[in-house]
């Protein structure tokens, strides 16, 4: 029956951080249309490579434009269907009981503030949030000071956990994650200009033959889906509807 | 030729260099601990592959290193009762016993399960695991297992060492029957001269990896020096006889031999049955006069033919009793006092009691004769 489901369902390969929002959106779509959607959540990098290896995905929803670019460069997606659907912002967090006040401005001496402690963030080369965080710290001139005081994790949720558990004194995560964890406090929000725009691009895969894939994509881009994303703290890009 | 062995094999510092032929239906391997008996039997069974040499059993070449011939153990059809049992711990006694049967062609299955089980007295153990058996019980099951695989040759490495005498007494006749009727030649490792004397038709004496003597049992056993031991001297003459009469009242049997008439404890053989009788050298008293009023029922008349080598205080006197050679072991003092020089007529006195079941074998002689043809 599994393969039948696969034949019937629209298969979405989505970044794991989208789970709550997409699950809700998918359920709503199912209710609307009576059609099923199966969503495989994993790291964007893994998903991109799997699509490259012939995965039966209809939709690719990445947390990272780089991996969407990768897919595009290999001709794995239909470029005309690509849209930057969601946005997010990056925040500096500390454990709830921490009293630190850190204004995020150029010349920031984060290293001194950390002292012997560590700054938790996604892997700066591998995890999108890590890449954005590194860019922001560079922009603020704090990178060289803290680069030896990082605790890099394989996903941003692990970085959140490190701060939440008080292992790391500070952390850089998405606002969507920070908002949900009562054990952390948002110290500051990274100004938009400090890092490339945080966008979640979505596209139909080149090999998708599912008749309903485009419908689901349209649904995601419609206002009907908007509340589900916003509920999780994502910014639904205003231009989303008009994307190519 | 039943067994023709000529092998050389090194094992650490020990070298087995064995060369012998045996035509006996039961070849006894005799020798002190560490002399290479097990190694030799292992070579015959195919468990070890000797460095050099040739083994032929019943005309079948099992090993010939010069031609690179080596029959693997599972194709030799050689039953092996190991010195240490080696029962399969995951099978119960019944399954152990029947193990070999799975691999025996149906029409070659001759050994009767019930008969073997009854003989070995293991009927009450059939559903038990080997780990719950006593030492002797294990050994009996191991014997049964080998017997029930209907081998073409049976190797037994001290199978009876851990059994009590009563049990042995029950098993001996069975081995004899196997030897005589079953047509299964046997190689028996034993360090009991009594056992060998009772059962063997051929004997191979090993010492330090070398064969020091081999030949028909009747010949080898006469060399009492090969079998020095602290217990009663077991060696002596093996002579041939025939049941002529039973004295039921006294539970005695009269056996006619060339050397004379012998009265022995009642035997379960019908009149006319050929027998082998062992006359232990130690059991014979010599008298220069015809004895009288003695409790000993057997007196054989003969002439001293020669005296053997002295063993400390004692010496073997070989008698000629109507052409049959008897050996009597007496003190040198007696030889001197009674002047037992060659040619002298003497009377060999033997108690009937001396003919215990071990001294009275089944019709082994039939084979001995065949063998010498």
């Amino acid at each position: 029956h599994g393969s039948q489901a696969e034949a019937r369902d629209v298969v979405v390969f989505a970044a794991a951080s989208l789970k709550n929002a997409l699950d809700d959106a998918g359920a709503a779509w199912t209710q609307d249309s009576g059609k099923q959607v199966a969503i495989s959540y994993a790291a964007s990098s893994a998903l991109a490579k799997q699509i490259d290896a012939g995965a039966p995905a209809d939709l690719f929803f990445s947390a990272d434009p780089d991996w969407m670019d990768y897919a595009a460069s290999k001709g794995l997606i239909r470029p005309e269907s690509r849209a930057d659907l969601l946005g997010n912002s990056l925040v500096l967090i500390a454990p709830r009981d921490s009293a630190v006040q850190i204004p995020l401005q150029p010349g920031l001496d984060l290293a001194a503030l950390l002292g012997g402690n560590r700054l938790a963030m996604g892997h700066v080369g591998a995890v999108p949030a890590g890449k954005y965080g590194k860019a922001a710290l560079e922009k603020l001139g704090a990178w060289t000071g803290v680069k030896d005081k990082l605790a890099q994790t394989d996903n941003v949720r692990a970085a959140l956990l490190l701060v939440s558990r008080g292992e790391a004194a500070l952390g850089i995560v998405y606002r969507t994650d920070a908002a949900s964890d009562p054990n952390v406090r948002i110290v500051a929000v990274f100004p938009e200009g400090t890092h490339p725009p945080i966008v979640y691009p979505v596209a139909l895969t080149a090999e998708s033959k599912h008749p309903d894939a485009a419908t689901f994509l349209a649904f995601l881009r419609s206002s009907k889906a908007k509340p589900f994303f916003e509920k999780q703290g994502f910014v639904v890009m205003s231009k989303a509807g008009s994307g190519s | 030729m039943i067994l023709d062995v000529d092998i050389r094999h090194r094992q650490g510092a020990f070298t087995l260099q064995a060369r012998f032929q045996s035509e006996g239906k039961l070849t006894a391997l005799f020798g002190p601990s560490g002399s290479g008996k097990t190694t030799l039997v292992n070579a015959v069974s195919g468990l070890i592959r000797p460095d050099h040499g040739r083994i032929v059993a019943q005309g079948r070449v099992l090993l010939d290193t010069s031609q690179g011939a080596f029959v693997p153990k599972h194709r030799r059809r050689i039953g092996y009762v190991f010195q240490e049992g080696r029962l399969f711990p995951h099978l119960n006694v019944r399954q152990n016993l029947l193990f070999g049967r799975w691999f025996t062609p149906r029409r070659e299955r001759k050994a009767g399960f019930d008969r073997v089980v009854a003989l070995l007295g293991i009927g009450h153990l059939l559903d038990r695991r080997p780990s719950t058996l006593s030492g002797g019980e294990k050994q009996r099951v191991a014997m049964g297992r080998a017997l029930l695989s209907d081998p073409h040759l049976l190797l037994m490495d001290e199978p009876l060492a851990s059994l009590d005498e009563a049990r042995k007494a029950e098993i001996y006749p069975y081995i004899e029957r196997l030897r005589d009727e079953g047509g299964v030649p046997i190689v028996l490792v034993s360090h009991s001269v009594a056992e060998i004397a009772r059962l063997a038709t051929s004997i191979v004496v090993l010492s330090d990896g070398q064969v020091v003597a081999s030949g028909p049992a009747s010949e080898i056993l006469r060399h009492t020096g090969l079998f020095r031991q602290p217990g009663p001297v077991e060696a002596g003459a093996l002579i041939e006889g025939r049941v002529v009469q039973h004295e039921e009242a006294f539970e005695l049997t009269v056996v006619q031999t060339r050397a004379g008439t012998l009265t022995v404890p009642r035997l379960d053989y019908p009149v006319g049955t050929p027998l082998r009788v062992r006359l232990r050298a130690r059991d014979i008293i010599l008298s220069v006069k015809p004895p009288e009023g003695l409790s000993a029922l057997n007196v054989l008349r003969g002439q001293v033919s020669c005296t053997g080598e002295a063993h400390g205080p004692s010496i073997d006197v070989i008698l000629d009793c109507e052409g049959e050679a008897l050996v009597a072991r007496v003190t040198r003092k007696s030889v001197e006092e009674l002047d037992l020089v060659p040619g002298r007529t003497v009377h060999a006195i033997i108690k009937s009691i001396a003919f215990d079941p071990e001294a009275l074998g089944g019709s082994g002689f039939v084979n001995m004769r065949d063998m010498n043809d």
Binding site: G2, E6, A46, A53 | G46, R86, F88, S149
Partner: protein
């Protein structure tokens, strides 16, 4: 605590199926390779030994990656299997089973090897003298005697399959109902706010399954051990 969602139940069922199939499918090759490695000296033995251990030595993601390259729809072996036998592994539960089987393989083989090494070879010799061909000896003597090792290997393989994540998600992704095993589902749940409850529930289910599996294996091992090991 709430019950599991249908999707989570699907993951549980799938994990059981995958773990069971992975264990069962690796059993025979595991026994064969353990026997080869422990008993035979042949050219390439060392290489085989290393190969068997690789899934342990390499990060699971790397194993998944190699699987994707080799057994994926576009991989050499994958394409061959698909064409010749119609067997598709990538992004199917069968692929998850393959990944789990491979990850558990070194554990299975080691356990069996240990048991093979402790078999009293003299018993095998004895079976030989009773007329048993080496293949039969293996079947009726060696195999029963190494059952404790086989059981231990099966437990390890099954447990590993229940917990395997990196290679599976890399090779067959995380498609609900098809390739989403318990660990993948746990992973997805931990990647979003509020998923901890679900993750914990699934963890408990995993533990419950492993308790049952262990209990079963201990029971089997006791039965078998009593037979195989002298007291």
């Amino acid at each position: 605590m709430e019950g599991l969602s249908p999707e989570e139940w699907a993951a549980v069922r799938l994990s059981l199926k995958v773990a069971f199939v992975a264990m069962a499918a690796s059993l025979l090759p595991g026994i064969a390779i353990a026997f080869l490695l422990e008993r035979k000296r042949f050219w390439g033995r060392q290489a085989l030994d290393v190969l068997v251990h690789l899934p342990l030595v390499l990060p699971p993601v790397a194993v998944g990656w190699f699987l994707l390259i080799g057994f994926g729809r576009r991989g050499t072996i994958g394409a061959f299997l698909a064409e010749q036998f119609g067997i598709v592994l990538s992004f199917r539960w069968t692929g998850a089973a393959l990944a789990c089987a491979i990850m558990g393989f070194p554990l299975l083989v080691r356990a069996i090897r240990l048991s093979i090494a402790s078999v009293d070879r003299r018993l095998e010799d004895a079976a030989g003298t009773l007329g048993a061909h080496p293949a039969w000896v293996f079947l009726v003597v060696t195999l029963p005697l190494i059952l404790p090792g086989i059981i231990a290997g099966m437990v390890l393989s099954f447990a590993k399959a229940m917990g395997e994540f990196g290679a599976t998600i890399t090779f067959v992704s995380n498609i609900p109902g098809e390739t989403q095993t318990i660990p993948s589902a746990i992973y997805a749940l931990t990647q979003v706010p509020g998923g901890e409850g679900g993750a914990m529930r699934l963890t408990l289910v995993s533990i419950a399954i492993s308790v049952a599996a262990l209990w079963l294996s201990e029971w089997l091992a006791r039965r078998v051990g009593r037979r195989v090991l002298a007291p």
